[in-house]
């Protein structure tokens, strides 16, 4: 067992894949000479050489698309976007090509590719660099979407993503790269599509993923002070999504707040809430409460940004509003 930061956990997952599987290679803007905008690939170029650590031009469509072609030819590319906001430039390739190719070809083509991208707001990068498009890609059939909230999950999910024969987006919460956590030395994987109940409780279910786990855990602590026992669920995977885990928890607690740090409107928690309405309404003592960031572009100013970003107080307010506790 060792204490490492999330960045190191991702790095460990990538490094062992590069060491163990010659089909694995990486592409992205400034991942080589520069070492990666968030230093996840620092030192890789020296260790693995330019054939496997490919610095690309600023051409997201071309290099993401090239990843698809390389994957279709039997390699296992790991492609990095410097920000998930930049993935918009390559959405045609991700959606029309990577996700659709297996189906359109009647199962002839596999795209075993990992797309990595820092996601989320909170560091004053304003509207174009603070978004969370993992929620958009989670609704695209033909691909998987995961988002770790701690180093243990980051390593386990990265290993599974690289071994997966589908395109997998690993959304990496930019605010959490430096977060520490325990990671075992023994090999393990985390199954994509399985949620994690990070804290068991009996009075209310709180659901989120990625950076959202921070306000969720803070809220759960504060609820505990009030004598309210919260069950906390980390979805880990937005597609496929583990609704069974959420429904089972709600059957026990009869109360639920779903929380996103991405925009509330149209986010993944809208899907969770709608599904709960159908599958668990008879178990609920009140409405499915949904918390998310305000429906505005991300502001630059720190005070404004913090106000927009979901925090523990927003979660607590929803708990009170929905259930009077």
């Amino acid at each position: 067992m060792s204490q490492i930061v999330l960045r190191e956990a991702l790095k460990r997952g990538l490094e062992e894949a590069l060491e163990n599987d010659p089909r694995v290679f990486m592409m992205g803007e400034d991942i080589g000479e520069y070492g990666g905008a968030y230093a996840v690939t620092d030192g890789f170029l020296k260790k693995f050489g330019p054939e496997r650590i490919k610095d690309t031009p600023i051409s997201e469509q071309a290099f993401l698309g090239a990843g698809i072609g390389a994957a279709a030819a039997g390699l296992r590319p790991i492609v990095e976007f410097m920000s998930i906001s930049f993935s918009l430039v390559a959405f045609d390739q991700i959606v029309n090509m990577a996700a659709n190719l297996r189906y359109m070809s009647g199962g002839q083509i596999s795209v075993p590719m990992v797309i990595r991208a820092p996601t989320g707001a909170g560091v004053q990068l304003a509207a174009t660099h603070s978004q969370s498009f993992e929620t958009w890609l989670a609704e695209v059939p033909g691909m998987k979407v995961v988002c770790p909230s701690n180093p243990y999950d980051a390593l386990g999910l990265m290993r599974s993503a690289i071994k997966d024969d589908n395109p997998v987006l690993v959304a990496e919460p930019a605010l959490l790269y430096g977060v520490k956590g325990e990671v075992p030395d023994e090999y393990y994987e985390i199954e994509i599509g399985k949620a994690d109940i990070t804290r068991t409780g009996s009075d209310i279910t709180l659901v989120s993923y990625g950076y959202g786990m921070r306000p969720l855990n803070e809220a759960a602590d504060k609820l505990a002070e009030r004598g309210v026992s919260a069950e906390v669920i980390d979805l880990r995977s937005l597609s496929p999504i583990d609704m069974d885990a959420v429904v089972q928890s709600v059957q026990k607690t009869n109360r639920v707040v779903v929380v996103d740090t991405a925009r509330r409107v149209g986010g993944i928690m809208a899907e969770v809430a709608a599904d709960l309405q159908q599958k668990a309404s008879e178990w609920l003592d009140g409405p499915v409460m949904r918390v998310g960031s305000a429906d505005v572009p991300w502001p630059y100013n720190r005070g404004l940004e913090q106000e927009v970003l979901t925090d523990a107080d927003d979660v607590l307010a929803a708990v009170t509003e929905g259930y009077g506790i």
């Binding site: 698309g65 279709a72 030819a73 039997g74 189906y103 070809s105 009647g106 596999s110 033909g142």
Partner: protein, 355 residues
């Protein structure tokens, strides 16, 4: 049967050099008797493929009118010489990537005629089990990698296939077809640049049929109708070829392919060609005069090429006629096969979504 290729100034020097080395594999009058025999067979085969594509597509049009083929149907009629000439130069381990006007490339690559027709009919026996349709033909065993219907979207895919061939240290290559309409997409530039800086083994094959749907290239492109001179910017050797002349296309492609196999990096061929029919079967062609269409039709490769072969005594009219009968029969059988094939089972709806 001299070829009619023009090079951009940068690449013409390289072209001349390559010819001196005798590596171009050019078809010309100075060849030995043995290669003459081979050429006769080859040339009859080139005709067979062009005629197959033509008859296949005429049958497609007919069955579209009957409502047996639905969706969009983009025909390749008139452009047969480009795909056939170009693909005839490839090996089995090379990849071919196409756009939504893909029937010709698919058949030239050897896709099973029955299964291709069945795909257009949306049947379970189709190449994609009826899930792809006309614009999305695939046969990975033949290394025919689609059939792509977002204009220019196939370019980076092709670069990635070529990247894998380079990574795996093979001397295979990827041939990527695209039309003049693709060239106004940003990803066109991105892919040319990426392929050039990484020296990818890719042949960019532009089929310039002068129209992107209803938009004449002169209306939508700054700089005229020639693309190949612009490749000097990327340091990609480029030539122009007469896309109505199957042997000229074959010859120019052989030169480019040989260079790529030796590690030259990307090559670019621009074939000037023309579709005799509308963009799709929904197209009334209000945007162009029939005079222009008529002029191009006079150079119809499916008519002029066999005529020339017979006149030169390379093949007999009987051979041409026999070839045609065999193709006619194969196409009729393909339609019958498709029509008799079962619809996909509804249980197929959610298969092939994820591995």
């Amino acid at each position: 049967m001299a070829s009619s290729t023009k090079s951009s100034s940068k690449s013409s020097r390289k072209s001349a050099k390559s010819s001196k080395n005798g590596k171009s594999g050019a078809v010309g009058p100075d060849q030995s008797d043995e290669s003459d025999v081979a050429n006769k067979t080859d040339q009859l085969e080139l005709f067979r493929q062009m005629y197959l594509i033509r008859q296949f597509e005429l049958a497609c049009g007919e069955n579209y009118s009957k409502g047996l083929i639905r969706g969009f149907l983009h025909l390749y009629i008139g452009q047969e010489a480009t795909g056939v000439g170009a693909i005839s130069t490839l090996r089995e381990d090379d990849y071919v990537v196409s756009n939504y006007r893909d029937h010709g490339h698919a058949l030239a690559r050897g896709l099973d005629v029955n299964r291709a027709m069945a795909e257009l009919f949306g049947r379970a026996t189709g190449t994609s089990k009826g899930k792809g349709g006309s614009m999305h033909l695939f046969d990975v065993a033949k290394r025919f990698m689609g059939g792509h219907a977002i204009v220019a979207g196939q370019l980076p895919l092709a670069a990635g296939l070529a990247l894998a061939q380079q990574y795996q240290k093979t001397d295979g290559l990827t041939m990527c077809f695209f039309g003049d309409g693709s060239t106004n997409q940003g990803v066109y530039h991105e892919t040319l640049n990426l392929a050039a800086i990484w020296k990818l083994p890719i042949l960019f094959f532009l089929e310039n049929n002068m129209y992107g749907m209803g938009s004449s290239i002169e209306r939508v492109r700054a700089g005229g109708i020639d693309f190949y001179p612009g490749m000097a910017t990327y340091e990609i050797p480029a030539v122009e070829v007469d896309g109505m002349d199957v042997l000229a296309v074959k010859e120019a492609t052989e030169v480019a392919v040989a260079r790529i196999r030796k590690g030259s990096g990307p090559q670019f061929i621009e074939a000037k060609t023309f579709r005799f029919v509308g963009h799709s079967l929904a197209d009334g062609q209000k945007y162009r005069g029939q005079e222009e269409v008529k002029e191009w039709k006079e150079r119809d490769p499916v008519i002029t090429f066999p005529k020339k072969l017979v006149e030169m005594g390379l093949v007999t009219q009987d051979q041409v006629d026999e070839t045609k009968s065999a193709v006619d029969e194969a196409v009729a059988k393909a339609v019958e096969f498709a029509n008799d094939s079962p619809e996909p089972d509804l249980s197929e709806i959610d298969t092939d979504v994820l591995a």
